[in-house]
């Protein structure tokens, strides 16, 4: 047993250092593309660490959103950035320009950073080794929440208000992106035969996975955000393989789907207020069905929003207005 514990410790240390090394690569590697690839690997390693820390829900979210979608966003931005900066005055990254002042500007922050790191280390090591947090409260109220997965219970019931605001944040980001409206056209490459076949094969599978994650979220790791992210990934894949939304759907229907998650949330919240007298108080008997409805609509909205964030430019219908 002891050998196993030691092995686990070594594994943890390796994972930790690997994570730091990848972060270093992502931040300080000379080649920007390598940086982004390192960042994606960083996200995947992070997902493994979440599993090690008994947080499978977070691991799923990290793998799908943190590594997958954020990475895709960075790659797309990188691709769009290349022509933009070449057309301009050219890249200014010039290692020869480093003056002594700039050297100082590197050392001073490094020193301060060491100071802060040591301060934070002391602060964290001073924490008591055992603390229950809110575990007992969550467990004792779990039956009334309508789901048996504690994380889903916290997300959609105990702290559902946070989640409502969070969905609004996501929608807001999309609104902001559309408002800024990049004039750089999105990448329009002919999908090769591999990508084409892959997308034909993968998209249905991804949708299936998404539905499974959604369903399983009630009692096991999974839930709206993870499912939505997988759905978003399917959308990204479709976009990459040249698929376009039917023009008739680009206007109000698209906007309706995007806002459906928030709207359902608000509607259910108001309904519960009318029934039980308190905002977002789900009656225990109906809680599970309400949460399921909420998650289904939210998944759809989150998936479409994430895919739209990846595309970046607003649909033509919005541009016209």
């Amino acid at each position: 047993m002891e050998a196993l514990a030691l092995l686990q410790d070594v594994f943890d240390i390796l994972l930790g250092f690997g994570l730091l090394w990848l972060a270093w690569l992502a931040l300080f590697s000379l080649d920007l593309f390598r940086s982004i690839v390192s960042f994606i690997s960083f996200g995947l390693l992070m997902a493994i660490i979440w599993v090690r820390l008994d947080a499978p829900d977070v691991a799923l979210a990290e793998a799908a959103i943190g590594a997958g979608l954020t990475g895709a966003l960075f790659l797309a931005a990188f691709a769009k950035l290349q022509p933009a900066s070449v057309n301009g005055k050219g890249s200014s990254i010039n290692p020869q320009k480093q003056s002594s002042r700039k050297q100082l500007l590197r050392w001073l922050p490094a020193l301060i950073m060491l100071w802060i790191a040591s301060g934070l280390t002391i602060a964290i090591l001073a924490l008591p080794p055992h603390a229950t947090g809110l575990t007992s409260e969550v467990t004792s109220n779990l039956t009334a929440s309508g789901v048996s997965n504690p994380v889903t219970a916290v997300l959609l019931n105990f702290r559902g208000y946070d989640t409502l605001l969070e969905i609004v944040v996501l929608l807001l980001a999309l609104l902001a992106v559309w408002s800024i409206g990049s004039s750089v056209p999105s990448i329009e490459s002919e999908p090769g035969p591999v990508l084409d076949t892959l997308s034909r094969l993968l998209v249905p599978i991804l949708i299936m996975v998404s539905a499974y994650l959604l369903w399983v979220g009630a009692h096991a790791p999974g839930g709206a955000f993870q499912a939505g992210a997988v759905l978003g990934a399917a959308g990204v894949l479709l976009v990459l393989s040249g698929w376009k939304l039917y023009p008739g759907l680009e206007g109000f229907p698209l906007r309706l789907v995007l806002t459906a998650g928030s709207i359902t949330f608000v509607v259910i919240a108001i309904l519960t207020m009318l029934v039980s007298g308190t905002f977002m108080q789900f009656p225990p008997a109906q809680a599970s069905i309400l949460i399921l409805i909420l998650e289904m609509v939210a998944t759809l909205s989150i998936g479409v929003t994430l895919a739209a964030l990846f595309i970046g430019s607003p649909p033509t219908d919005i541009k016209k207005l």
Partner: protein, 486 residues
Amino acid sequence: MGITFIDFPWAIALILLPLTGGLSCFLWPSVSKILGLVTVIGVMLSATGLGWLVIDKGVYHYLVGGWGAPLGIELYVDGLSLLMLMVTALVALGVSIYSIHYFELSYQRRFWPLWLFLLTALNALFLSADIFNLYVTLELMGLAAVALATLTGSHDAFTAAMRYLLATLLGSLAFLFGVVLLYHSFGSLDIAVLSERFESNITAWAAFGLISAGLVLKTALFPMHFWLPPAHANAPAPVSAVLSALVVKASFYILLRLWLEIFSQLDTDVDILFGFLGSIAIIWGSLQALRQTRIKLLVAYSTVAQVGYLFLAFPLAEKVGVTAWSAAVYLILSHALAKSAMFLAAGNLLRFGGHDRIADLDRVAQRLPITVAAFALAGVSIMGLPPSGGFISKWLLLQSALVQSQWGLVGVMLIGGVLAAAYIFKVLGRAFTQAPLPHEPGVVPATMEWAALLLAGGAILLGFFASEILAIIEIGSPFGAGEVKL
């Protein structure tokens, strides 16, 4: 059911109304103007309803989802948050009326949903009693503010907004780090529960350092103000007004709330540091304002200076508690109204002359008397001249400084007053001289002029209701026992 009028959940309405308003504006962009205006009027009514409720029945608690702390999220309204909500509603109304004619059609559909989400974030922030929920609202507010700041679409605006975005993200992250440390030390996210369980230890001070620094960065206290002047000066006028009047104050509100409820139990000298930085901010911001050649930058730097006054309350509250804090709250209110009026007036001048160079502002007074009057009235409040809200707040601050014989701070406040007078008359003086118009002036709709005057008049009126407002501040005694004497 039997919900009487007074028992109506006004607090929930304050969150849900702008949220649904924003969603509907996004869904039906062609009628966003009307939807937006209806929403803002609804928010105003809800704020009034909540005010009635709180004044009548005292502190208001609401358990979202019926769970209550520590498991769920609570909403909490006392005098302090009530006043913040009310001033938010008032400024929102003014800015919305102004925006009807300010934006072109294609910008209307971008502006309204973003603006209503920003309003949602502000209301949710002032209502929240949960530190993680505060983080989410901070992020919602920050992203909406940045998106709004880019609406002019100029190069400067994008660069400034980028800087603003990075600063606000960094500030939120520092805040979140502090929240993490607090949660793992004391096992709760609710402010009241934290306040009970709080004890001074090494983790607590690290959390305090991170949270204060993050919020100070977001509040743009000198020398953390680097992002504020360009971002506020390059945004569209109504957006600048909201950013200066409300968004900066929101992070200060959180700092104030956490300081009062939780961190007051720490034995610290940070108040002296805040007072020191605040003093420098007053002088520095005023001097910079005086140096500017464009009105909007001048007004933005004036915000840097006024933020400095807010932080003077920290060292002063050591001994005279309630008076100094009330002064800070009063300053938040009057500055919110005056500064938004000023930015709106600056927007009018910009629209009229096609530029906002102070040196070429001649002959505006004759053409835009209402705008210039709004600017002047707002200026009276910013300078702290009687009778205005700014006067009452600076009076209370000076009084608390005098009682403690803090002569340095008294001096800083007086110099700040002189400098404020100087930079405001730098603009106003120009408006009275005669010069031929170089080109055809732009058309400034009457609503835009009156919206500015409405807000400026509010800043002046605040000076007449000192006792009532000070009584509201006392509800729930967020600042401890005591009485403010005028």
